[in-house]
Point group: C2
Chain length 232, copies 2
Amino acid sequence: MNTPAAVDTKRAAGLPRKGRIRQEHEAGILRAAERVFARAGFSAATMNGIAQEAGLPKSNLHYYFRTKQAIYRAVLTNILQLWLAPTEVIRDDRHPGDALAHYIRAKMKLTAERPDASRVFANEVLHGAPEIGGYLRRELRALVRDKARVIDGWIARGWMRPLDPVHLFFTIWAATQTYADFDAQVCAVLGRRQLTEADFERATEHVVSLVLQGCGVMNGGPGALLAAGSPR
Amino acid sequence: MNTPAAVDTKRAAGLPRKGRIRQEHEAGILRAAERVFARAGFSAATMNGIAQEAGLPKSNLHYYFRTKQAIYRAVLTNILQLWLAPTEVIRDDRHPGDALAHYIRAKMKLTAERPDASRVFANEVLHGAPEIGGYLRRELRALVRDKARVIDGWIARGWMRPLDPVHLFFTIWAATQTYADFDAQVCAVLGRRQLTEADFERATEHVVSLVLQGCGVMNGGPGALLAAGSPR
DNA sequence: GTCTATAGCCGGATAGAC
DNA sequence: GTCTATCCGGCTATAGAC
Protein backbone atom coordinates (compact mmCIF):
# COMPACT_ATOMS: atom_id res chain seq x y z
CA MET A 1 0.00 0.00 0.00
CA ASN A 2 3.01 2.16 0.54
CA THR A 3 5.24 0.68 -2.09
CA PRO A 4 6.27 2.49 -5.25
CA ALA A 5 4.16 0.00 -7.16
CA ALA A 6 1.06 1.10 -5.29
CA VAL A 7 1.85 4.73 -6.04
CA ASP A 8 2.21 3.99 -9.72
CA THR A 9 -1.09 2.17 -9.75
CA LYS A 10 -2.79 5.21 -8.30
CA ARG A 11 -1.13 7.52 -10.78
CA ALA A 12 -2.17 5.32 -13.66
CA ALA A 13 -5.71 5.51 -12.31
CA GLY A 14 -5.55 9.30 -12.55
CA LEU A 15 -5.20 9.96 -8.83
CA PRO A 16 -2.69 12.57 -7.64
CA ARG A 17 0.90 11.48 -7.15
CA LYS A 18 1.90 11.21 -3.51
CA GLY A 19 4.00 14.13 -2.31
CA ARG A 20 6.92 13.71 0.02
CA ILE A 21 5.00 15.12 2.98
CA ARG A 22 2.10 12.79 2.36
CA GLN A 23 4.39 9.76 2.23
CA GLU A 24 6.15 10.72 5.43
CA HIS A 25 2.94 11.41 7.31
CA GLU A 26 1.32 8.21 6.12
CA ALA A 27 4.37 6.23 7.21
CA GLY A 28 4.38 7.98 10.59
CA ILE A 29 0.71 7.24 11.09
CA LEU A 30 1.21 3.58 10.25
CA ARG A 31 4.13 3.24 12.65
CA ALA A 32 2.08 4.85 15.42
CA ALA A 33 -0.95 2.77 14.54
CA GLU A 34 1.04 -0.47 14.74
CA ARG A 35 2.03 0.37 18.31
CA VAL A 36 -1.47 1.35 19.33
CA PHE A 37 -3.19 -1.61 17.67
CA ALA A 38 -0.63 -3.93 19.25
CA ARG A 39 -1.34 -2.64 22.73
CA ALA A 40 -5.10 -2.33 22.46
CA GLY A 41 -6.40 -4.41 19.57
CA PHE A 42 -8.57 -2.94 16.87
CA SER A 43 -11.63 -1.83 18.75
CA ALA A 44 -10.00 -0.52 21.91
CA ALA A 45 -7.55 1.48 19.83
CA THR A 46 -8.77 5.03 19.33
CA MET A 47 -8.06 7.52 16.58
CA ASN A 48 -7.13 9.90 19.36
CA GLY A 49 -4.54 7.47 20.69
CA ILE A 50 -3.02 6.95 17.26
CA ALA A 51 -2.99 10.69 16.64
CA GLN A 52 -1.17 11.37 19.91
CA GLU A 53 1.33 8.60 19.21
CA ALA A 54 1.92 10.07 15.75
CA GLY A 55 2.06 13.64 17.03
CA LEU A 56 -0.78 14.82 14.81
CA PRO A 57 -4.28 16.10 15.50
CA LYS A 58 -6.96 13.50 15.21
CA SER A 59 -8.71 14.85 12.18
CA ASN A 60 -5.47 14.83 10.25
CA LEU A 61 -5.63 11.05 10.34
CA HIS A 62 -8.94 11.19 8.55
CA TYR A 63 -7.32 13.31 5.88
CA TYR A 64 -4.77 10.59 5.07
CA PHE A 65 -6.94 7.54 5.73
CA ARG A 66 -10.68 7.69 5.39
CA THR A 67 -11.44 5.39 8.29
CA LYS A 68 -9.82 3.64 11.22
CA GLN A 69 -10.32 0.38 9.39
CA ALA A 70 -8.33 1.72 6.43
CA ILE A 71 -5.39 2.41 8.73
CA TYR A 72 -5.73 -1.06 10.21
CA ARG A 73 -5.73 -2.69 6.80
CA ALA A 74 -2.65 -0.75 5.73
CA VAL A 75 -0.83 -1.84 8.89
CA LEU A 76 -1.71 -5.48 8.22
CA THR A 77 -0.58 -5.26 4.61
CA ASN A 78 2.85 -4.08 5.72
CA ILE A 79 3.07 -6.88 8.26
CA LEU A 80 2.12 -9.66 5.85
CA GLN A 81 4.99 -8.85 3.52
CA LEU A 82 7.43 -8.81 6.42
CA TRP A 83 6.08 -12.06 7.71
CA LEU A 84 6.49 -14.35 4.76
CA ALA A 85 9.85 -13.16 3.44
CA PRO A 86 11.93 -15.52 5.64
CA THR A 87 10.42 -18.62 4.02
CA GLU A 88 12.69 -17.89 1.10
CA VAL A 89 15.49 -19.96 2.68
CA ILE A 90 13.38 -23.11 2.48
CA ARG A 91 14.51 -24.44 -0.90
CA ASP A 92 15.35 -27.93 -1.99
CA ASP A 93 18.95 -27.10 -2.90
CA ARG A 94 19.60 -26.68 0.82
CA HIS A 95 19.94 -29.15 3.63
CA PRO A 96 17.12 -29.06 6.21
CA GLY A 97 19.51 -28.63 9.14
CA ASP A 98 20.76 -25.48 7.52
CA ALA A 99 17.51 -24.14 6.07
CA LEU A 100 15.29 -24.78 9.08
CA ALA A 101 17.83 -23.28 11.47
CA HIS A 102 18.06 -20.17 9.33
CA TYR A 103 14.32 -19.94 9.05
CA ILE A 104 13.74 -20.22 12.79
CA ARG A 105 16.46 -17.67 13.50
CA ALA A 106 14.96 -15.27 11.00
CA LYS A 107 11.49 -15.66 12.47
CA MET A 108 12.83 -15.16 15.97
CA LYS A 109 14.72 -12.07 14.88
CA LEU A 110 11.51 -10.59 13.52
CA THR A 111 9.74 -11.49 16.75
CA ALA A 112 12.40 -9.70 18.78
CA GLU A 113 12.66 -6.65 16.54
CA ARG A 114 9.02 -6.19 15.56
CA PRO A 115 6.97 -7.51 18.47
CA ASP A 116 4.18 -5.05 17.77
CA ALA A 117 3.80 -6.35 14.23
CA SER A 118 3.52 -9.86 15.63
CA ARG A 119 0.89 -8.79 18.14
CA VAL A 120 -1.25 -6.99 15.58
CA PHE A 121 -1.15 -10.05 13.37
CA ALA A 122 -1.94 -12.33 16.31
CA ASN A 123 -4.88 -10.22 17.34
CA GLU A 124 -6.27 -10.23 13.81
CA VAL A 125 -6.03 -14.01 13.49
CA LEU A 126 -7.26 -14.61 17.02
CA HIS A 127 -10.50 -12.87 16.14
CA GLY A 128 -11.06 -14.90 13.01
CA ALA A 129 -8.89 -12.99 10.51
CA PRO A 130 -11.80 -10.85 9.25
CA GLU A 131 -9.49 -8.64 7.18
CA ILE A 132 -6.82 -11.05 5.98
CA GLY A 133 -8.72 -14.32 5.83
CA GLY A 134 -8.80 -14.25 2.03
CA TYR A 135 -5.09 -13.61 1.85
CA LEU A 136 -4.37 -16.50 4.19
CA ARG A 137 -6.55 -18.90 2.20
CA ARG A 138 -4.91 -17.93 -1.08
CA GLU A 139 -1.33 -16.70 -0.82
CA LEU A 140 -0.32 -18.23 2.50
CA ARG A 141 -1.91 -21.57 1.71
CA ALA A 142 -0.16 -21.76 -1.67
CA LEU A 143 3.16 -20.79 -0.13
CA VAL A 144 2.90 -23.43 2.57
CA ARG A 145 2.00 -26.03 -0.02
CA ASP A 146 5.17 -25.21 -1.97
CA LYS A 147 7.40 -25.28 1.07
CA ALA A 148 5.81 -28.50 2.30
CA ARG A 149 6.80 -30.10 -1.00
CA VAL A 150 10.40 -29.06 -0.38
CA ILE A 151 10.34 -30.64 3.07
CA ASP A 152 8.78 -33.81 1.69
CA GLY A 153 11.73 -33.92 -0.69
CA TRP A 154 14.16 -33.77 2.23
CA ILE A 155 12.28 -36.59 3.92
CA ALA A 156 12.34 -38.71 0.76
CA ARG A 157 16.11 -38.24 0.58
CA GLY A 158 16.38 -39.43 4.18
CA TRP A 159 17.64 -36.09 5.46
CA MET A 160 15.05 -35.94 8.19
CA ARG A 161 12.48 -38.25 9.72
CA PRO A 162 8.97 -38.48 8.25
CA LEU A 163 6.62 -35.86 9.66
CA ASP A 164 3.86 -33.59 8.50
CA PRO A 165 5.52 -30.44 7.10
CA VAL A 166 2.39 -28.32 7.43
CA HIS A 167 2.08 -28.98 11.14
CA LEU A 168 5.80 -28.37 11.44
CA PHE A 169 5.14 -24.84 10.18
CA PHE A 170 2.37 -24.35 12.72
CA THR A 171 4.73 -25.39 15.48
CA ILE A 172 7.59 -23.18 14.34
CA TRP A 173 5.32 -20.17 13.96
CA ALA A 174 3.77 -20.74 17.37
CA ALA A 175 7.04 -21.41 19.17
CA THR A 176 8.73 -18.28 17.83
CA GLN A 177 5.87 -15.79 17.89
CA THR A 178 4.93 -16.71 21.44
CA TYR A 179 7.87 -14.59 22.62
CA ALA A 180 6.14 -11.50 21.23
CA ASP A 181 2.48 -12.39 21.52
CA PHE A 182 2.66 -13.91 24.99
CA ASP A 183 5.47 -11.67 26.11
CA ALA A 184 3.54 -10.78 29.29
CA GLN A 185 3.37 -14.45 30.29
CA VAL A 186 6.98 -15.15 29.38
CA CYS A 187 8.15 -12.15 31.39
CA ALA A 188 5.99 -13.18 34.35
CA VAL A 189 7.41 -16.70 34.41
CA LEU A 190 11.02 -15.60 33.88
CA GLY A 191 10.66 -12.82 36.45
CA ARG A 192 11.71 -10.15 33.97
CA ARG A 193 10.30 -6.71 33.42
CA GLN A 194 11.05 -7.15 29.76
CA LEU A 195 12.96 -9.68 27.70
CA THR A 196 16.65 -9.02 27.18
CA GLU A 197 18.73 -9.79 24.15
CA ALA A 198 20.21 -12.70 26.08
CA ASP A 199 16.71 -14.06 26.73
CA PHE A 200 16.02 -14.01 23.02
CA GLU A 201 19.29 -15.76 22.22
CA ARG A 202 18.51 -18.47 24.73
CA ALA A 203 14.99 -18.81 23.37
CA THR A 204 16.29 -19.01 19.81
CA GLU A 205 18.79 -21.75 20.54
CA HIS A 206 16.14 -23.63 22.48
CA VAL A 207 13.66 -23.59 19.61
CA VAL A 208 16.29 -24.35 16.97
CA SER A 209 17.69 -27.34 18.82
CA LEU A 210 14.29 -28.69 19.84
CA VAL A 211 12.92 -28.50 16.32
CA LEU A 212 16.02 -29.81 14.58
CA GLN A 213 16.37 -32.72 16.94
CA GLY A 214 12.61 -33.21 16.77
CA CYS A 215 12.89 -33.48 12.99
CA GLY A 216 15.79 -35.88 13.23
CA VAL A 217 18.35 -33.59 11.59
CA MET A 218 21.35 -32.57 13.59
CA ASN A 219 23.83 -30.65 11.48
CA GLY A 220 22.56 -27.12 11.80
CA GLY A 221 25.14 -25.05 9.98
CA PRO A 222 28.02 -23.26 11.68
CA GLY A 223 28.45 -25.30 14.83
CA ALA A 224 26.32 -23.41 17.31
CA LEU A 225 23.60 -26.00 17.45
CA LEU A 226 25.47 -29.02 18.58
CA ALA A 227 26.13 -27.51 21.97
CA ALA A 228 22.51 -27.98 22.95
CA GLY A 229 22.13 -31.53 21.71
CA SER A 230 25.47 -33.07 22.58
CA PRO A 231 24.83 -35.61 25.40
CA ARG A 232 22.77 -38.73 24.84
CA MET B 1 -15.57 -17.29 42.19
CA ASN B 2 -18.23 -19.86 41.65
CA THR B 3 -16.90 -22.55 43.91
CA PRO B 4 -18.61 -23.69 47.12
CA ALA B 5 -15.69 -22.17 48.99
CA ALA B 6 -16.47 -18.75 47.55
CA VAL B 7 -20.10 -19.12 48.57
CA ASP B 8 -19.13 -19.99 52.10
CA THR B 9 -16.82 -17.03 52.27
CA LYS B 10 -19.66 -14.76 51.30
CA ARG B 11 -21.97 -16.34 53.87
CA ALA B 12 -19.37 -15.96 56.56
CA ALA B 13 -19.11 -12.32 55.59
CA GLY B 14 -22.83 -11.95 56.16
CA LEU B 15 -23.84 -11.77 52.51
CA PRO B 16 -26.86 -13.75 51.30
CA ARG B 17 -26.34 -17.37 50.34
CA LYS B 18 -26.56 -17.94 46.61
CA GLY B 19 -29.86 -19.41 45.53
CA ARG B 20 -30.13 -22.08 42.88
CA ILE B 21 -31.48 -19.61 40.32
CA ARG B 22 -28.65 -17.21 40.95
CA GLN B 23 -26.02 -19.92 40.52
CA GLU B 24 -27.57 -21.13 37.29
CA HIS B 25 -27.91 -17.67 35.84
CA GLU B 26 -24.38 -16.70 36.80
CA ALA B 27 -23.04 -19.86 35.20
CA GLY B 28 -25.08 -19.22 32.05
CA ILE B 29 -23.81 -15.67 31.85
CA LEU B 30 -20.21 -16.81 32.23
CA ARG B 31 -20.59 -19.44 29.51
CA ALA B 32 -22.11 -16.87 27.17
CA ALA B 33 -19.48 -14.31 28.08
CA GLU B 34 -16.65 -16.74 27.32
CA ARG B 35 -17.98 -17.17 23.79
CA VAL B 36 -18.48 -13.46 23.24
CA PHE B 37 -15.12 -12.41 24.71
CA ALA B 38 -13.42 -15.10 22.62
CA ARG B 39 -14.90 -13.80 19.40
CA ALA B 40 -14.57 -10.10 20.07
CA GLY B 41 -12.04 -9.47 22.81
CA PHE B 42 -12.86 -7.43 25.87
CA SER B 43 -13.63 -4.03 24.45
CA ALA B 44 -15.50 -5.07 21.32
CA ALA B 45 -17.65 -7.41 23.37
CA THR B 46 -20.89 -5.74 24.41
CA MET B 47 -23.19 -6.38 27.31
CA ASN B 48 -25.94 -6.62 24.75
CA GLY B 49 -24.09 -9.38 22.92
CA ILE B 50 -23.52 -11.34 26.10
CA ALA B 51 -27.14 -10.87 27.12
CA GLN B 52 -28.42 -12.18 23.81
CA GLU B 53 -26.04 -15.15 23.92
CA ALA B 54 -27.24 -15.90 27.45
CA GLY B 55 -30.91 -15.35 26.58
CA LEU B 56 -31.39 -12.63 29.19
CA PRO B 57 -32.17 -8.93 28.97
CA LYS B 58 -29.14 -6.74 29.21
CA SER B 59 -29.84 -5.12 32.52
CA ASN B 60 -30.17 -8.50 34.13
CA LEU B 61 -26.46 -8.94 33.66
CA HIS B 62 -25.86 -5.89 35.79
CA TYR B 63 -27.92 -7.47 38.49
CA TYR B 64 -25.61 -10.48 38.72
CA PHE B 65 -22.33 -8.75 37.94
CA ARG B 66 -21.83 -5.08 38.66
CA THR B 67 -19.71 -4.35 35.60
CA LYS B 68 -18.57 -5.86 32.35
CA GLN B 69 -15.09 -6.09 33.83
CA ALA B 70 -16.43 -8.16 36.72
CA ILE B 71 -17.82 -10.68 34.22
CA TYR B 72 -14.51 -10.70 32.39
CA ARG B 73 -12.57 -11.36 35.58
CA ALA B 74 -14.88 -14.19 36.55
CA VAL B 75 -14.43 -15.78 33.13
CA LEU B 76 -10.64 -15.55 33.45
CA THR B 77 -10.70 -17.05 36.94
CA ASN B 78 -12.53 -20.10 35.64
CA ILE B 79 -10.06 -20.46 32.79
CA LEU B 80 -6.95 -20.25 34.94
CA GLN B 81 -8.01 -23.19 37.07
CA LEU B 82 -8.75 -25.24 33.97
CA TRP B 83 -5.44 -24.29 32.45
CA LEU B 84 -3.00 -25.40 35.09
CA ALA B 85 -4.62 -28.62 36.19
CA PRO B 86 -2.88 -30.81 33.54
CA THR B 87 0.58 -30.00 34.95
CA GLU B 88 -0.26 -32.45 37.70
CA VAL B 89 1.16 -35.33 35.63
CA ILE B 90 4.63 -33.80 35.67
CA ARG B 91 6.06 -35.47 38.76
CA ASP B 92 9.44 -36.99 39.36
CA ASP B 93 8.12 -40.49 40.01
CA ARG B 94 7.21 -40.64 36.33
CA HIS B 95 9.30 -41.06 33.21
CA PRO B 96 9.45 -37.97 30.94
CA GLY B 97 8.34 -39.90 27.86
CA ASP B 98 5.20 -40.83 29.72
CA ALA B 99 4.57 -37.59 31.61
CA LEU B 100 5.28 -35.17 28.77
CA ALA B 101 3.15 -37.14 26.33
CA HIS B 102 0.27 -37.13 28.79
CA TYR B 103 0.71 -33.44 29.45
CA ILE B 104 0.73 -32.51 25.78
CA ARG B 105 -2.29 -34.69 25.10
CA ALA B 106 -4.16 -33.12 27.98
CA LYS B 107 -3.32 -29.60 26.81
CA MET B 108 -4.37 -30.44 23.28
CA LYS B 109 -7.62 -31.95 24.53
CA LEU B 110 -8.38 -28.71 26.34
CA THR B 111 -7.52 -26.75 23.22
CA ALA B 112 -9.92 -28.85 21.16
CA GLU B 113 -12.73 -28.88 23.70
CA ARG B 114 -12.46 -25.35 25.07
CA PRO B 115 -11.11 -23.22 22.24
CA ASP B 116 -12.99 -20.18 23.49
CA ALA B 117 -11.30 -20.41 26.87
CA SER B 118 -7.95 -20.52 25.12
CA ARG B 119 -8.81 -17.50 23.03
CA VAL B 120 -9.96 -15.39 25.96
CA PHE B 121 -6.75 -16.22 27.79
CA ALA B 122 -4.67 -15.48 24.70
CA ASN B 123 -6.35 -12.14 24.20
CA GLU B 124 -5.76 -11.19 27.81
CA VAL B 125 -2.06 -12.05 27.69
CA LEU B 126 -1.61 -10.54 24.24
CA HIS B 127 -2.69 -7.20 25.62
CA GLY B 128 -0.30 -7.33 28.53
CA ALA B 129 -2.29 -9.44 31.02
CA PRO B 130 -3.77 -6.39 32.79
CA GLU B 131 -6.12 -8.54 34.88
CA ILE B 132 -4.11 -11.68 35.52
CA GLY B 133 -0.55 -10.34 35.49
CA GLY B 134 -0.25 -10.67 39.24
CA TYR B 135 -1.50 -14.24 39.14
CA LEU B 136 1.00 -15.14 36.43
CA ARG B 137 3.91 -13.60 38.34
CA ARG B 138 3.01 -15.43 41.54
CA GLU B 139 1.16 -18.72 41.07
CA LEU B 140 2.17 -19.57 37.52
CA ARG B 141 5.79 -18.63 38.08
CA ALA B 142 6.01 -20.76 41.22
CA LEU B 143 4.33 -23.69 39.50
CA VAL B 144 6.72 -23.55 36.56
CA ARG B 145 9.66 -23.37 38.91
CA ASP B 146 8.51 -26.58 40.62
CA LYS B 147 7.89 -28.42 37.39
CA ALA B 148 11.21 -27.23 35.96
CA ARG B 149 12.92 -28.82 38.94
CA VAL B 150 11.22 -32.12 38.11
CA ILE B 151 12.46 -31.93 34.52
CA ASP B 152 15.96 -31.05 35.67
CA GLY B 153 15.81 -34.23 37.73
CA TRP B 154 14.95 -36.26 34.62
CA ILE B 155 17.88 -34.68 32.83
CA ALA B 156 20.25 -35.43 35.71
CA ARG B 157 19.16 -39.08 35.56
CA GLY B 158 19.93 -39.12 31.84
CA TRP B 159 16.31 -39.70 30.86
CA MET B 160 16.35 -36.81 28.42
CA ARG B 161 18.90 -34.48 26.90
CA PRO B 162 19.87 -31.23 28.66
CA LEU B 163 17.57 -28.35 27.79
CA ASP B 164 15.92 -25.40 29.45
CA PRO B 165 12.70 -26.71 31.03
CA VAL B 166 11.11 -23.26 31.24
CA HIS B 167 11.46 -22.65 27.52
CA LEU B 168 10.19 -26.16 26.94
CA PHE B 169 6.96 -25.11 28.64
CA PHE B 170 6.72 -22.03 26.46
CA THR B 171 7.08 -24.19 23.37
CA ILE B 172 4.53 -26.77 24.49
CA TRP B 173 1.99 -24.10 25.42
CA ALA B 174 2.50 -22.29 22.14
CA ALA B 175 2.42 -25.40 19.97
CA THR B 176 -0.80 -26.71 21.49
CA GLN B 177 -2.77 -23.51 21.98
CA THR B 178 -2.04 -22.31 18.46
CA TYR B 179 -4.73 -24.74 17.26
CA ALA B 180 -7.33 -22.70 19.13
CA ASP B 181 -5.87 -19.21 19.10
CA PHE B 182 -4.74 -19.24 15.48
CA ASP B 183 -7.53 -21.51 14.36
CA ALA B 184 -8.38 -19.12 11.50
CA GLN B 185 -4.85 -19.42 10.12
CA VAL B 186 -4.69 -23.19 10.59
CA CYS B 187 -8.02 -23.61 8.82
CA ALA B 188 -6.94 -21.33 5.99
CA VAL B 189 -3.73 -23.28 5.39
CA LEU B 190 -5.37 -26.69 5.70
CA GLY B 191 -8.29 -25.61 3.51
CA ARG B 192 -10.84 -26.52 6.15
CA ARG B 193 -13.90 -24.64 7.22
CA GLN B 194 -13.25 -25.85 10.72
CA LEU B 195 -10.91 -28.36 12.30
CA THR B 196 -12.14 -31.93 12.51
CA GLU B 197 -11.45 -34.46 15.23
CA ALA B 198 -9.03 -36.14 12.85
CA ASP B 199 -7.15 -32.86 12.39
CA PHE B 200 -6.73 -32.59 16.14
CA GLU B 201 -5.52 -36.18 16.42
CA ARG B 202 -2.96 -35.57 13.71
CA ALA B 203 -1.88 -32.31 15.35
CA THR B 204 -1.58 -34.01 18.72
CA GLU B 205 0.61 -36.82 17.44
CA HIS B 206 2.72 -34.30 15.56
CA VAL B 207 3.38 -32.18 18.66
CA VAL B 208 3.93 -35.20 20.92
CA SER B 209 6.45 -36.83 18.61
CA LEU B 210 8.25 -33.58 17.78
CA VAL B 211 8.63 -32.63 21.43
CA LEU B 212 9.56 -36.08 22.69
CA GLN B 213 12.12 -36.61 19.98
CA GLY B 214 13.28 -33.03 20.46
CA CYS B 215 13.83 -33.77 24.13
CA GLY B 216 15.64 -36.97 23.34
CA VAL B 217 13.09 -39.32 24.93
CA MET B 218 11.31 -41.83 22.77
CA ASN B 219 9.31 -44.24 24.87
CA GLY B 220 6.02 -42.42 25.23
CA GLY B 221 3.87 -44.87 27.11
CA PRO B 222 1.45 -47.30 25.49
CA GLY B 223 2.84 -47.48 22.01
CA ALA B 224 0.69 -44.84 20.37
CA LEU B 225 3.54 -42.44 19.82
CA LEU B 226 5.65 -44.39 17.47
CA ALA B 227 2.81 -44.47 14.96
CA ALA B 228 3.27 -40.75 14.38
CA GLY B 229 6.76 -41.31 13.10
CA SER B 230 5.61 -43.70 10.39
CA PRO B 231 5.26 -42.58 6.79
CA ARG B 232 2.45 -40.28 5.85
C1' DG C 1 -35.74 -10.96 40.82
C1' DT C 2 -36.94 -8.97 36.13
C1' DC C 3 -37.30 -5.62 32.68
C1' DT C 4 -38.00 -0.82 30.30
C1' DA C 5 -36.38 3.54 29.76
C1' DT C 6 -32.86 6.66 29.91
C1' DA C 7 -28.84 9.10 31.61
C1' DG C 8 -24.22 10.09 30.47
C1' DC C 9 -20.07 9.29 28.14
C1' DC C 10 -17.01 8.37 24.46
C1' DG C 11 -15.33 7.73 19.95
C1' DG C 12 -15.49 7.91 14.80
C1' DA C 13 -16.32 10.81 11.31
C1' DT C 14 -17.27 15.37 9.10
C1' DA C 15 -17.90 20.40 8.17
C1' DG C 16 -15.77 24.25 7.35
C1' DA C 17 -12.52 28.08 8.80
C1' DC C 18 -7.77 29.07 8.06
C1' DG D 1 -2.71 20.63 3.84
C1' DT D 2 -4.05 21.64 8.83
C1' DC D 3 -6.96 22.10 12.70
C1' DT D 4 -11.26 23.34 15.71
C1' DA D 5 -15.81 22.43 16.66
C1' DT D 6 -19.47 19.42 16.38
C1' DC D 7 -22.64 15.78 15.05
C1' DC D 8 -24.28 11.27 15.72
C1' DG D 9 -24.44 6.62 17.07
C1' DG D 10 -23.50 3.15 20.32
C1' DC D 11 -22.09 1.70 24.66
C1' DT D 12 -22.08 1.03 29.92
C1' DA D 13 -24.50 1.64 33.74
C1' DT D 14 -28.48 2.98 36.54
C1' DA D 15 -33.17 4.39 38.04
C1' DG D 16 -37.28 2.83 39.02
C1' DA D 17 -41.78 0.41 37.68
C1' DC D 18 -43.49 -4.17 38.02
